[in-house]
């Protein structure tokens, strides 16, 4: 059993959990993820490692309550335990001193971006970070991101905080005004990552994205996590989750995320009425 040792509400529907898993914490690196199950009937869901504490033997993960399992997870409290927690999975980010780089995070994607940004800063890069959310109350980890960035810019869709508009507006501005951007990291919703690669493409700035396809095992056994990168099929769980954003087939990625849409609704409906009544 893997105990939840601390919880924090970062924004409505976005929660931070610190989970005791010393073996995972000992090996975790920025860019990797874990897979957990809430209970015996539970689904295996992947979540990025937002932080780790090797001394305390804990992993921090930040998640958005969007469907059946993440809501069930969010309902747990400090002291509760998860049945399964496996990791660290996937390849770690390739951290180098590139020079000037931009880290772009959207929504809950800021969480996995944070340890990567920190590592890039520690590697000597000049880090410009751009984070965004739909509105101010959904923005997470602002202080943490500021502490590991040379410059931090904020965008909200509704203009309730920072620039009114998208992170891509700010990114374009940075590339044009500052110039010499060597690398861009982008993590967030698929549509946002696609927009970022569209923005950087004309300037030919290498852009790394973190793919979040549907997964089952996370060890290269099932092939559920297929993504097409440069017309080659890759398994995001072992070859990724980070890929060259300019080579990703985004339409395919978006389509594949919708595979179980109907079933997800059924699971939630069953949960809300207690299930078993046959009403779905």
């Amino acid at each position: 059993m893997y105990q939840i040792v601390a919880t924090k509400v970062l924004a409505p529907t976005i929660k931070l959990f610190e989970i005791k898993a010393p073996m995972v914490a000992a090996k975790a690196q920025a860019g990797q993820f874990i897979i957990l199950r809430v209970d015996e009937e539970g689904e295996r869901i992947p979540l990025t490692i937002a932080d780790y504490n090797r001394d305390a033997g804990t992993i921090t993960t930040i998640f958005q309550e969007i469907g059946y399992t993440t809501k069930k997870l969010g309902a747990l409290n400090e002291g509760d335990s998860l049945v399964d927690f496996v990791g660290p999975l996937g390849q770690a980010s390739e951290i180098e001193n590139f020079g000037r780089i931009v880290c772009v995070g959207g929504g809950v994607g800021v969480a996995p971006l944070y340890p990567i940004t920190r590592a890039l800063k520690e590697a000597g890069n000049e880090v410009i970070s751009i984070i965004g959310a739909r509105s101010k109350d959904l923005l997470i980890l602002e202080d943490e991101m500021r502490s590991v960035s040379d410059t931090l810019l904020v965008a909200t869709d509704d203009g309730s905080y920072g620039h009114k508009g998208f992170v891509t507006d700010l990114l374009k501005q940075v590339i044009e005004e500052k110039g010499d951007v060597k690398h861009v990291w982008a993590i967030g919703p698929v549509v946002m990552m696609r927009a970022v690669t569209g923005t950087t493409k004309p300037y030919e700035v290498p852009t790394i994205v973190s793919m979040n396809p549907i997964m089952v095992d996370g060890t290269g056994m099932c092939g559920a996590c297929r993504v097409s990168v440069g017309n080659e099929t890759k398994f995001a769980c072992v070859d990724g989750p980070e890929f060259d954003g300019h080579l990703v087939d985004w339409d395919l990625a978006i389509r594949r995320l919708a595979i179980f849409k109907d079933e997800e609704k059924r699971a939630e409906a069953a949960a809300s009425c207690g299930g078993g009544c046959g009403c779905q």
Partner: protein, 463 residues
């Protein structure tokens, strides 16, 4: 007494009914049937049946105990060699192993050795398995990587020799293909777990959620004080055909399809949270055990039509005869000498069908099987909405690529001595599908057994 020519038939669920439920298909012998079948064995002095058994079960001896109604004695005999009898009794390809060599089989049907094994094992499972005696500790520690039949066998044998064994499994339960691949209706998961509990009772420390290569490498295990390592990580990497449309919504690897259903209990969705989506017309490409399991599972998940699409003929199908037979009975349709060249999409990216070509068989190739040749101009469209790729699996690279100094074969399998499982790296042994490529449960167990023996020798000679 005249010889009964035919094997005592084993009762099974009605095909109509069973093709819609996940309960076990074959129901096992009653005591009366078991005795009748055991009577058929003529107790050959030269024991030809034994040469076909990769773990050398003393077949005539256990059948003799059965004849004497000494079922405890029978299962004890089997367990001298096999740690997983209830599993073997259900899924071993007996027709190409022990039963192939049975004297009776020369003129009539061979003795139903597998069915008798299953009877003895189930007898014990029903009664409650007595935990075995565990010998005094040798003080040596062995790490076993993976939780499939190769690893479970190696772990059990090493524990019986007094070594302290820790088994690391990547998934949340041990069992390997027995848990995630082979369906409930063929091998109930409760049976697998009971046999695994037995291995736990031998003192094996089973650690699930532990991916070796990530949480620790093989080198790190050796540094942590394990005196030897056994690698049994299987052939879990699904192959695809490399044809257009394979990433469409509705195309699964057999591994994903079966894992969602078996390991994650997708057939009980939404009580179990993992969904599995299956359409009305399902095509399973391939004709091995994996493909049969896929096609039969599709029916049980509600498909109206389920097809096996295979580019050779019925004769070459690699699946066990019994499985092919069961699939036919349940209504699986066979599209032989046929292979897809493209999977075609609807406007919103779901499978709408496959373009296929017909094949004919040419001269035998290197594998001895006649080579399939595409017939020009034979393209046709097959309307399906779900495709399951069951064309084979390769070795999972996680451990091989993180273990420097351990040589691999061209296909990425681990190079290991056939007799001992010794790899080119000192203290590291390997066996099962990760060495041979996708094979069978019993061969994996045989490899685990040989490796356990060799590891024991190695530990004795190691200071």
């Amino acid at each position: 007494m005249p010889i009964i020519k035919e094997k005592t038939p084993m009762p099974s669920q009605d095909p109509q009914e069973r093709s819609r439920n996940f309960n076990e298909v074959a129901l096992g012998y009653t005591e009366e049937m078991a005795l009748k079948e055991a009577e058929r064995c003529i107790q050959c002095k030269n024991e030809p049946c034994r040469q076909g058994c990769p773990v050398e079960v003393d077949i005539p001896a256990f059948i003799l105990k059965m004849k004497e109604k000494d079922y405890d004695g029978a299962i004890a005999k089997i367990k001298e060699k096999s740690n997983l009898p209830a599993i073997c009794g259900r899924v071993c390809p007996q027709e190409s192993q022990c039963e192939k060599y049975c004297t009776l089989g020369k003129k009539n049907e061979p003795v139903g050795i597998g069915r008798l094994e299953r009877y003895a094992a189930d007898y014990e499972l029903n009664k409650g398995v007595t935990p075995p005696e565990v010998p005094a500790s040798t003080g040596k520690k062995v790490a076993v990587v993976g939780g499939g039949p190769a690893s479970l066998t190696a772990a059990a044998d090493l524990a019986r020799l007094g070594h302290q064994v820790t088994l690391f499994e990547a998934l949340h339960v041990a069992g390997g293909v027995l848990m995630y691949g082979i369906p409930q209706f063929r091998l109930p998961k409760e049976v697998v777990q009971t046999e695994i509990d037995y291995i736990r009772k031998l003192g094996v420390d089973i650690r699930t959620n532990a991916v070796i290569g990530k949480i620790s490498t093989v080198d790190e295990l050796l540094e942590q004080g394990y005196d030897a390592v056994f690698i049994g990580t299987g052939a879990g990497l699904p192959y695809f055909m490399d044809i257009p449309g394979e990433n469409l919504n509705g195309v699964y690897s057999a591994n994903e399809f079966l894992t969602r259903t078996n390991l994650m209990k997708g057939y009980k969705f939404p009580e179990y949270a993992t969904p599995i989506k299956v359409g009305k017309k399902v095509a399973v490409v391939g004709a091995g055990n994996v493909a049969m399991d896929g096609a039969r599972t599709a029916l049980r998940l509600g498909a109206e039509e389920s097809y096996i699409v295979y580019r050779r003929s019925a004769e070459e199908m690699p699946a066990r005869t019994e499985e092919i037979h069961h699939a036919e009975e349940e209504g699986v349709q066979f599209k032989l000498l046929t292979s897809p060249t493209e999977i075609v999409a609807t406007d919103d990216g779901w499978v709408k069908g496959m373009t296929c070509v017909k094949y004919e068989l040419g001269e035998p190739d290197a594998s001895g099987r006649r080579r399939p040749i595409a017939i020009e101009g034979s393209e046709f469209f097959m309307e399906v909405d779900t495709v399951v790729m069951a064309i084979g699996q390769g070795p999972n690279p996680l451990v091989p690529t993180t273990t420097p100094g351990m040589e691999l074969n061209k296909k990425g399998t681990i190079k290991a001595d056939e007799e001992s499982g010794a790899t080119t790296k000192e203290g590291v042994f390997a066996g099962g599908d990760i060495v041979t490529g996708a094979a069978t449960v019993i061969l994996a167990m045989g490899a685990g057994k040989k490796a356990a023996k060799a590891i024991d020798e190695y530990l004795k000679n190691k200071a």
